[in-house]
């Protein structure tokens, strides 16, 4: 019974094994390399169900066909005008020649190591030829980062295709910045510039303020003198009017006028300290000697 069972299971097992090692799938995202006794014989780029001789006669190796990203840590480079900058790039690449790739790079990890060297070298070379203002500048026509990146991409790609069987689609600079040690000086410069601008605004403002004040002062003088002129004019007119009214009033009774005026002049020159010497018949003394004149009651 046992051997009978063995006779059934063994061929089934062998059959399954053969199937699993002869038929294989290439996924949409994969590219396949078939090796015969270790020697590469076939490259398969189209996805689907494929056939090969069973292992260990032929073996398959699968590679990723997709666009792969390599994102190294940022590193420092020197521009042509001796500025230190930190650059963070990312690389888009794909395997185009799996045979070549397998021979030179082996696997993904090996590829990334080689890419690191290659890309760093190309970026360093490109930047060493450019002054800082081609990377960062607000003036027209100076900054040309796009062109620099395209240049790096092209040169990296040429080297990669030649040696490694991969195509570098893009090397792009994600970020560029000054290294940490330079930051304080950059910030200090920024601060100084802001200060400078602020001071300029303030002095401009003060200039304006002075102008406005001077103008106001001038206006004030004009208004005041105008007012003074008017006031004097009104005063003068008022005085004239008062005098006219007085004259009219006194014209009605000249004697009363004389009486009042005499009293007023007494008030002015007669006081304790002054000694006045006048001739006896002076009109001025008449009031003191004779008293107020008769008042006629009809006059009104």
């Amino acid at each position: 019974m046992r051997t009978k069972l063995l006779w059934i299971l063994l061929p089934i097992a062998i059959f399954i094994y053969l199937i699993s090692t002869t038929l294989f799938c290439i996924d949409e995202t994969e590219i396949g390399l078939v090796c015969q006794f270790g020697r590469p014989v076939r490259v398969i780029t189209e996805p689907g169900l494929k056939l090969k001789l069973p292992a260990p006669i032929q073996t398959k190796i699968l590679f990723d066909k997709r666009v792969l990203i390599y994102d190294p840590t940022p590193s420092e480079f020197l521009t042509s005008d001796k500025q230190n900058i930190v650059i963070d790039v990312y690389v888009c690449w794909r395997i185009t020649d799996p045979l070549r790739f397998f021979q030179t790079m082996g696997n993904r990890r090996g590829a990334e190591l080689r890419l690191e060297d290659l890309v760093k070298a190309e970026v360093g070379a490109a930047l060493g030829n450019c002054p800082l203002f081609t990377l960062v500048s607000h003036k027209e026509g100076e900054m040309d980062l796009g062109k620099i990146m395209a240049e790096i991409t092209k040169r990296s790609d040429q080297r990669a295709i030649e040696h490694y069987g991969i195509k570098i689609l893009d090397v792009r600079i994600k970020r560029l910045n000054f290294p940490g040690e330079n930051m304080p000086s950059v910030f200090a410069r920024m601060w100084a510039e802001r200060e400078r601008i602020a001071t300029r605004y303030r002095s401009e403002g003060q200039e304006e303020a002075a102008k406005i004040r001077a103008e106001a002062e001038k206006q004030k003088q004009i208004i005041l003198s105008e007012a003074y002129r008017k006031a004097e004019g009104l005063k003068g007119a008022g005085d004239a009017e008062a005098t006219r009214i007085y004259a009219q009033a006194f014209k009605r009774d000249p004697e009363f006028y004389e009486f009042i005026r005499t009293l007023q002049s007494y008030d002015k020159f007669l006081d304790e300290k002054t000694t006045i010497i006048l001739p006896g018949d002076s009109k001025l003394l008449q009031l003191l000697e004779k008293g107020p004149p008769e008042v006629s009651h009809e006059k009104e």
Partner: protein, 199 residues
């Protein structure tokens, strides 16, 4: 002699198969049925279906509804959500519970054209425009979106003065980020469409 041994083996095989209990047959049959039924799948209204047979795409842009595909390992289906608008925050993370934002200073510090430093964070909105590209052309399409956007910012800000960037240039920056990043993404065939970039 050999031939008779082979026929002997085959006869024994037949006899043994008949001896298999009914229960075993039922079990095997139900496994086969379940296996066949596993090919039924539903595409939701915000998804699109793609079927690969032995790895190669045979049907794409499958409309919502119930469909059938030959079960694994013959065919398999992917159903990416193509209608949803996804968000990506560049330079900051949002804490789920407190809803605060923390920024990553390494990413957000940027140089302007007049060698000043400003901090910039972006909120990107994007959706999948071509599912087969999104799934099979690039390794990590979301990473590419992030990287392309960052490159765009570097390029754009490197041309502006700091005053421009902080005041009148904001709209220009947002439009340019979309343009430049989209160009890169289409170049790599990520199948992603950037809808908006807000600062």
């Amino acid at each position: 002699m050999k031939k008779s041994k082979l026929t002997q083996v085959l006869e024994d095989l037949k006899v043994n198969l008949n001896h298999l209990t009914l229960l075993l047959k039922v079990i095997l049959l139900s496994i086969a049925v379940i296996w066949l039924l596993s090919g039924i799948y539903v595409v939701q209204s915000d998804e699109a279906g793609i079927v690969r047979r032995f790895g190669s795409v045979v049907r794409e842009s499958i409309l919502p509804g119930m469909h059938y595909h030959l079960p694994w390992p013959i065919e398999r289906v992917n159903k990416p959500k193509v209608r949803t608008i996804r968000r990506m925050m560049i330079g900051y993370k949002q804490n789920e519970t407190t809803n605060e934002t923390e920024s990553d200073s390494a990413i957000i510090q940027r140089l302007t054209g007049d060698i000043n430093i400003i901090n910039l964070t972006i909120l990107l909105q994007y959706s999948i425009k071509k599912a087969s590209d999104y799934l099979f052309q690039t390794e990590k399409p979301e990473d590419l979106v992030c990287n392309a956007a960052q490159t765009a910012i570097t390029e754009i800000l490197g041309r502006m003065t700091v005053e421009e960037a902080l005041t009148v240039g904001k709209l220009k920056i947002q439009i340019l980020i979309r343009e430049l990043a989209q160009k890169s993404l289409d170049n790599y065939r990520t199948g992603i469409q950037i809808l908006a970039a807000d600062l």
